[in-house]
């Protein structure tokens, strides 16, 4: 059969679905009728004495068959309407579709990432609220606010908020006497631990799924011209100018690039040195600012001194300024370099920004964990850390809004009216996603110190979604270097897991494991480390209780961990060997295909 005839056959079978509507209807009715007549003949063959009842049975069957055919149809229609109703319930579905259609899939990936982060924070909010906050509010209201509510609290988090359930200090570790006794200490510990473990599992799952889809299957000779040509054209972009940009970019990528000479190498080295130097400088600056004793704890002494309180905002403002300015400097630095591949440029800028942000966060965590707990003048050091995180998040949010206004709106005005050559600003996906990751890292760090912090994060993400969408429609154009959105998506998820979540988790783990909780406030007052409540709890359990047994003999014994590591290593080795074997199989099959087709050509001649 010629290729053309083959196409026609496939088409008439199942591709041209619309034109086969009449066919499906008659088939269904005929099928039903056939089944009914079959049953009828079988009944007659049985020849029962109860002929009247068989007659009514057959009549009922016939009536049912008359109902079945439209029943199937209405069931199908019900399923379709259920699917469309579900689409309405999923939050932001219509908006996301519109964004994807107008700006392409890589911009859409930013908004999908935002939605995903929102889910994490909503879950954390619900869990914390139900298990920790509500029992605390209901059973032991602990509000001893020294000062009344002033407006500055929203920014600094101290004063009125100091003793509320917003921060660690507002919880106490009593065992609430009710029908099943509710141990607040255990509840606090396990809620935070369970949430972090679930987050980790979810992140690992998403990361491995994404990695498998987007990286592993790409091995082999697909990374080259064939892919770019055949799969990369984005049909969903309709703007003529954007299409022209895409065409130009594709042409540039398809042309062969040469020249990796010494000059380029030395420029790269210079750019890297400058970037790392800037990151180190910012880290050192924040360190000295943070440990400046005059700024740090002055507010603790005099709660009614507004000026001292406002000075606590200095550190977050400096951090946000660094986060704003240094990436711009990085993009200036990257202009002196030249890259053969625009994707390499994006990856390198992502790496540099991540180094900057993580070094800032690292310095802050180091300061919080080393200096604050030992300082006597701070009353409740966990609340202090919670308040610092709160301030950082709020100021970051304000700067984000300012950034939208100045960075995009004003830039658009300048680009179109004053300096025509600048043009409309591009929507920089990498920078925006890294900002989201930074904020989420702060939220994860702050979960132990301030259980209701997700409230702010949820509000913040909601507002940012709508502001970014409006700004996108009014001010920006889609980024020029699209393509490989799926791979960059994997990189972002991996970044969210590796420096961000792992860092936050290790900080919380270090706090719980080895730091002495403050003696006057919080659910863990009086213990050596918060982890000791587990010891106390297992001690208080009756002898031979299974939880105690598991804890003593499995989780605390080193032999268990050695065995587990050994088993995991052996399994990894086996899986690696299987992969190698499969690669060999693929190679053999490819050679087989070539041989078979050569054979066919030879025999047909």
């Amino acid at each position: 059969m010629s290729a053309r005839a083959r196409f026609q056959a496939i088409r008439s079978l199942h591709m041209n679905r619309v034109n086969s509507v009449k066919l499906s209807k008659t088939i269904l009715a005929a099928d039903c009728r056939q089944q009914v007549s079959q049953v009828k003949s079988e009944m007659q063959f049985l020849n029962t004495d109860l002929s009247l009842s068989s007659f009514t049975f057959l009549k009922v069957l016939h009536d049912i068959s008359g109902l079945i055919s439209p029943l199937f149809q209405s069931f199908r229609r019900f399923r379709a309407s259920l699917a469309s109703a579900r689409q309405h319930l999923i939050i932001w579905q219509g908006t996301l579709k519109e964004i994807g259609g107008r700006f392409g899939t890589s911009v859409l990936s930013y908004f999908l990432f935002l939605k995903w982060l929102l889910k994490f924070n909503l879950f954390s909010l619900i869990v914390n609220f139900c298990f920790i906050t509500i029992p605390q509010i209901v059973h032991a209201p602990n509000i001893s606010s020294i000062t009344g509510f002033r407006g500055l609290e929203l920014l600094t988090g101290v004063g009125y908020f100091n003793q509320t359930v917003l921060f660690y200090g507002g919880y106490n570790g009593e065992v609430i006497v009710s029908k099943p006794a509710y141990n607040m200490q255990l509840a606090y510990f396990f809620t935070v631990a369970a949430y972090l473990v679930l987050c980790g599992v979810s992140l690992i799952y998403s990361m491995s799924r994404s990695f498998q889809k987007n990286f592993v299957l790409e091995t082999g000779p697909v990374s080259g011209g064939a892919w770019r040509l055949l799969c990369s054209w984005d049909f969903s972009v309709v703007n003529a100018k954007a299409i022209q940009y895409n065409k130009n970019n594709l042409a540039i990528q398809l042309k062969v690039h040469t020249c990796s000479c010494l000059l380029h190498l030395s420029l790269h080295l210079l750019a890297w040195l400058l970037s790392l130097g800037l990151a180190l400088g910012s880290g050192a600056g924040i360190y000295f600012l943070g440990t400046d004793p005059e700024l740090a704890f002055s507010f603790n002494h005099d709660p009614s001194d507004l000026g001292a309180e406002a000075s606590t905002l200095l550190l977050p403002v400096v951090v946000s300024l660094i986060n704003l300015i240094v990436p711009l400097l990085y993009s200036l630095i990257s202009k002196i370099e030249s890259y053969s591949n625009p994707r390499t440029k994006i990856y390198i800028s992502i790496v540099r920004n991540v180094i900057l942000k993580m070094s800032i966060l690292g310095i802050l965590c180091f300061y919080w964990l080393n200096f604050v707990p030992n300082n006597i003048s701070v009353g409740c050091w966990e609340s202090f850390v919670g308040q610092s995180v709160y301030r950082l998040l709020i100021i970051d949010f304000i700067f984000c809004l300012l950034g939208i206004f100045f960075g995009e709106f004003l830039r658009n005005v300048i680009g179109t009216m004053c300096i025509q050559s600048l043009g409309v600003p591009e929507f920089d996906i990498a920078r925006n996603v890294l900002d989201l990751i930074y904020a989420q890292t702060l939220a994860w760090i702050g979960i132990y110190f301030s259980p209701l912090l997700p409230v702010m994060q949820v509000l913040k993400l909601f507002i940012i979604f709508y502001m970014k969408k409006i700004s996108l429609s009014m001010n920006c154009q889609p980024p020029k270097h699209t393509g490989r959105a799926a791979q960059i998506q994997t990189v972002f998820i991996a970044l969210l897991f590796f420096p961000s979540f792992v860092g936050a988790l290790s900080m919380v783990a270090f706090t719980v494991w080895s730091l002495k909780p403050s003696g006057q406030c919080g659910p863990f007052q009086g213990l050596d480390t918060p982890f000791h409540i587990i010891f106390n709890w297992t001690d208080s359990l009756p002898e031979n209780h299974w939880v105690g047994w598991i804890f003593e003999n499995i989780l605390r014994s080193e032999l268990f961990y050695y065995l587990i590591s050994l088993i995991v290593l052996v399994i990894t080795y086996f899986l690696w060997q299987i992969t190698q074997g499969r690669k060999q199989l693929i190679k053999t099959l490819r050679e087989g295909i070539v041989n078979v087709s050569a054979e066919i050509v030879r025999t047909s001649l």
Binding site: L229, L230, N248
Partner: protein, 188 residues
């Protein structure tokens, strides 16, 4: 007089919903747009819309493959690329969100097959490259670059080494590119 916008009967709507990958809103929107295109035709009521009218749609206006798309989805006997309403629905269904990878790759292959012979040979690939890189002089590839590029592509995707890319090889390349499903999309 004003446009005679006929309403789509309900049973036809539900049938179209079952047989295509489109939702109800998308089918209604498609019907509205198609009726507007029909109303602009000067002649008597004709059920097919010519290719030029389809090309005035904003989604297809600047698409480099608009001619091929119309040819592929048209069931007209005169091979002029005109589309009936059901052809139009077929088009939107293949380019919709929920269409499967198989259908999309099948239609992508047919769109890229400029000479309709069932395989992508060097001439098809050359036309493909030219339509994707633009027509200005500095973006057009030179003859030498074109030959090098096409031989690279054939080396990578031609598994049975017959000098052309057939449907299975094309689908093999597509299946390893996770971006394809999301970029092969046209939304009204």
């Amino acid at each position: 007089m004003g446009g005679t916008s006929s309403k789509l009967p309900k049973d036809l709507l539900s049938e179209y919903q079952e047989l295509t990958f489109l939702t109800k809103q998308e089918i209604l929107m498609a019907h509205k747009i198609f009726s507007e295109l029909q109303d602009r035709e000067n002649g008597p009521y004709s059920s097919r819309v010519s290719m030029e009218k389809i090309h005035t749609l904003p989604e297809l206006k600047s698409n480099p493959f608009r001619k091929r798309i119309c040819h592929v989805f048209s069931t007209s006997d005169m091979k002029d690329g005109s589309l009936s309403f059901e052809d139009f629905l077929d088009l939107l269904s293949a380019f919709s969100d929920s269409a499967t990878l198989e259908i999309k790759s099948h239609y992508a292959f047919r769109i890229f097959d400029f000479d309709d012979d069932g395989t992508l040979d060097a001439r098809d690939l050359e036309k493909l490259v030219n339509s994707l890189t633009g027509e200005t002089d500095d973006t057009r590839l030179t003859g030498e670059e074109m030959r090098q590029l096409i031989s690279n592509i054939l080396e990578e995707s031609d598994i049975d080494k017959d000098g052309t890319v057939n449907l299975s090889e094309f689908q093999h390349v597509i299946s390893r590119s996770p971006d394809f499903v999301s970029s092969f999309k046209i939304v009204l």
